[in-house]
């Protein structure tokens, strides 16, 4: 088998003969993405709500999240090095930061797009701001926030490959090693697995999202 020529049969062969290794990488990858998205959801929704309620917060948070997205992932990981060092934590922080924008933005715009007449009716009927938050705003914004989480997940499953660069593991290992050893089979296997995970999660999240919307209309 030449260094740069391969057939799909080779990919299949690689997969079947390295099952344990691949499963380990997949678990590492999922682990990283899972914790990053949990953090991203908690922080993102909080910041989204704060931005919607307090203009000064929005003036800081929204541009910050926007800029975050434009920093290339390799550069971000480098920037984080002095703060969190190498390994899992670095990957986790980087992925969390990437997941923030879609979640913050959807929470924020979702809240702002709730029709003023709905809020006025609620206020006029005697619901306190806190009750409006629980009974009106949260349920109304939920499907929009969920769409943001879905985008974030799909995105960081892909970006997660980079985390392997700082030793956070995951399917990125296959790609980086493949590059180092000039073995396209490894690169391709890594890419295929990452895509499969992303597509799989996207389908599941899309299904939940539709259920959420259906419950409301």
């Amino acid at each position: 088998m030449g260094a740069s020529r391969f057939e799909f049969r080779d990919v299949w062969e690689y997969i079947t003969s390295n099952q344990d290794y691949l499963i380990r990488l997949m678990i590492q990858h999922a682990h990283l993405v899972f914790f990053a998205i949990v953090l991203g959801v908690v922080i993102g929704i909080t910041l989204g709500f704060l931005s919607a309620y307090y203009k000064p917060v929005a003036a800081v948070v929204l541009p910050f999240a926007q800029i975050m997205m434009t920093v290339p992932s390799i550069a971000l990981i480098g920037i984080l090095l002095p703060f969190v060092g190498l390994g899992f934590n670095n990957g986790l922080v980087a992925l969390t930061l990437y997941s923030l924008l879609p979640i913050i933005r959807n929470t924020y715009t979702g809240l702002n797009e709730i029709s003023p007449s709905i809020l006025e009716a609620a206020r006029g009927m005697g619901l306190s701001e806190r009750r409006i938050l629980w009974r009106i705003k949260l349920p109304l914004v939920l499907p929009v926030v969920f769409a943001g989480i879905r985008t974030a997940i799909v995105m960081i499953v892909g970006i997660g490959a980079i985390a392997s660069y700082v030793g956070a593991g995951g399917l990125g290992d296959l790609i980086f090693r493949g590059i180092a050893r000039m073995r396209p089979v490894m690169i391709l296997t890594g890419a295929i697995f990452i895509s499969i995970i992303a597509i799989f999660l996207d389908i599941i999240m899309g299904w939940i999202e539709r259920k959420l919307i259906a419950r409301q209309t």
Binding site: I118, E120, A121, L127, R135, L140, T217
Partner: protein, 367 residues
Amino acid sequence: MIRFENVTKIFSRGTIPAVSNLNIEIPEGTICCMVGPSGCGKTTSMKMVNRLHSITEGKIYIDEVDNSTIDPISLRLDIGYVIQEIGLFPHMTIADNVATVLVEKKWPKQEIGKRVDELLELMGLEPKIYRQRRPSHLSGGQRQRVGVARAMAANPPIMLMDEPFGAVDHIARVRLQNEFLTLQEKISKTIIFVTHDIDEAIKMGDMIAVMREGKLVQYSTPEDLLSTPADEFVANLVGGNRSIKRLHLIRVSEILNRKVATVNMSDTLEAAKKHVIENAFNVVYVVSDTGVLNGFIGKVELKQEGEFVKDVYRSYPEIISDEATLSDALSVMLSNGESYVPVVDDFEHPLGAVSLEDVFKAVRQDD
């Protein structure tokens, strides 16, 4: 009772007041209609009552209590509020929408369910069908009904209604108006009813407050507004045809004196014939076994082939309730090119008929 005392609202310093020096008193159990052109301060006045807007100067008393001393949340829970845009909560079922205030007031679940069904029925929405629907699956008129039901849920003594029937077509609006007036006779709420439609104000209001650029121009009964407008502005608002406007003030039930004989579907044409000849409009009503008005037989129908009433009768394009106004009756007659219109009660049992002549006579007497 609601009393505005020298109420002024200035939104931001230096701008002209949105409401200036407003003085009105709305007695217990009456409807006060606020009318006036767009931006004259109707909504602003209303929102100061439940403290959605603060009052810049002056006081609003609710049953002699200064409303600024009442906690806004508990104040609002006891005031029914209908906004122009309806503002139903799209993520909640109709039942949950209607129950909003009841939940806030921590009513027991069972009683909430009972009350919601009662309100839906009151508003002519079959609970079994509509309870679990979402607002997006209702027509405009149905949504407005739900909006009113939601405001009435906890049986508040006071209601603020901002163009509550604004978002529906004329026919639906007339029906909602009539139903609401009938309801008001039973529930006797103290109501501020905002509208920009002078005809609606004349029809709905016990008193009418005409506003212009934040000031009260005239506060009087509909009759006085029509007979003695305070100035040219009010006169223009009321418009010409004041005697036609007066038709909004008279209910069909007040002048109904024509009876029409009825026959059953299974009666013979021979039996119907006698009634047709005797009747002023040469018709006889055809009713079902349950007494519901199904249609009529006139001279034309008599000539047709058939032995029984059910073979030849025709149904009416439109009938009206005795709660309708003479204006409603007139427009039905004109649009159908008929000289009379059948009048029915809530169960669609025939009560009689109103003719063009009756309408003319009523206006003439009023002059």
